[in-house]
């Protein structure tokens, strides 16, 4: 039987404020067994860019990454945010190791090409090296992954953290029984966003069809859940959508094949 691993993705907001970061690190440290954390950091990147006089240009929530912006996200994601998480976890006796996709060549990507928009140094993932990550994890190391990849030609690339989480989870599936947990601001997928008791505890492919048909799931939630099913098809055992203060593996909405 494969060992279990929990792959947790948290957005920038959680890891950029001391109190929510401390709470997250306490909870992450208390998870038993193998773990990986993937983090964002967009708010800090925007703030540092602004302080440096570099304009942040976003399209559909994604950052256009010219060479100056690439320097900012390399500093903020790979340095400031990542290393503070690593130091905070070491203080909690978690043997954290900060990684970008360039480190140990764990995530290769290519520069996004688009006819409409010049995204600059934005990367779409080609491959994640699950065997290398498994080797580190089996040494007791806990990878902390920044949303940066590389193209193998010396260029770092700015890459969406949700995508890194999904690709990492799939790459680990041959080696581990993988739970992929996405943290967001709600307790999970809700029948009624205004009613905290309306959490949908479990979605499988049949119930997903029904929830789509009756309009319970709509809008921005659809790509999230499509991504979850994509991860399940890639060998991930379960995907959980939950709040960052409920990453115990029991809370939230569990999406299964």
């Amino acid at each position: 039987m494969k060992q279990k691993i929990t792959v947790i993705k948290v957005g920038g907001k959680i890891v950029e404020e001391k109190e929510s970061l401390d709470n997250l690190l306490d909870r992450f440290a208390s998870i038993e067994g193998n773990r990986i954390l993937i983090h964002g950091g967009g708010r800090s990147a925007t703030r540092i860019a602004e302080a440096l006089g570099i304009e942040s240009r976003m399209v559909n929530g994604r950052r256009i990454t010219d060479s100056d912006t690439l320097k900012v996200v390399t500093m903020v994601y790979g340095g400031l945010v990542n290393k503070n998480i690593v130091a905070g976890l070491q203080a909690r006796n978690v043997n954290a190791l900060g990684l970008t996709g360039a480190d140990c060549n764990v995530i290769r990507a290519h520069k996004r090409t688009s006819e409409d928009i010049d995204w600059g140094f934005v990367g779409d993932v080609d491959s994640a090296d699950g065997a290398m990550l498994a080797k580190l994890i089996n040494e007791g190391i806990v990878p902390i992954m920044a949303p940066l990849t590389h193209d193998g030609n010396g260029n770092l690339l700015n890459t969406n953290a949700d995508t890194i989480a999904a690709e990492t989870a799939k790459a680990l599936a041959p080696h581990f029984d993988v739970t992929l947990t996405y943290c967001f601001e709600h307790p999970g997928v809700m029948r009624n966003p205004d009613d905290p008791t309306s959490l949908i505890a479990r979605i499988d492919s049949d119930s997903y069809k029904a929830l789509l048909a009756d309009g319970t799931i709509s809008g921005g939630m659809i790509p999230k859940i499509d991504n979850a099913f994509n991860a399940l098809e890639g060998g991930v055992s379960r995907v959980i959508i939950t709040r960052a203060d409920a990453i115990d593996g029991n809370s939230g909405t569990h999406i299964v094949a």
Copy 2:
């Protein structure tokens, strides 16, 4: 017989300009066998700090590191400089892994205390984990170390890169036959700094005494060579002082016990 390893320390100037960085990475990639690189980055830190309106205060060439300055060096050393080296080496088929002292807990330090000066978040090294580094190296990984350590309580600390190089070299000595190479602007220790043919190819403890007695070695070179002998006493096999374009292991001044 122990395997050989080359521990190379390069200052900020080399790694912060594209042409000299590319040259260094070409040479570093061509070194056979096990390797570690320790880098600085002070010039970029000063430049980014200035752009952010943070004053850089130096005492004896060391940076006073208040909490804003710590953020800058964490971004610049741990992110910008380190990750660009890592991506550049991956492009040269070197399986580089960027590390601060917090990553895998490889270098512990404590905040420097001084009666005269409040250094802020400056760290003096307590211990380097040679066994963990050896484990990574034996997996074919090439550590690239930024001049940052941690105190085990969640604080990153700004730490002199020369010191990190020496402590890392000593910690690796039980596991490898270690050559510690310090790159600087001259071809090595010179009898006459103005005469490039006056390189002293080899210094041992006897010849060092003679060179001190006749005044050939003086001033700022004395602490450098004292540090080299300290590393030799700590089990390092040889220390080389050379230029960054001559890290082949043959050039420069070789200091031996």
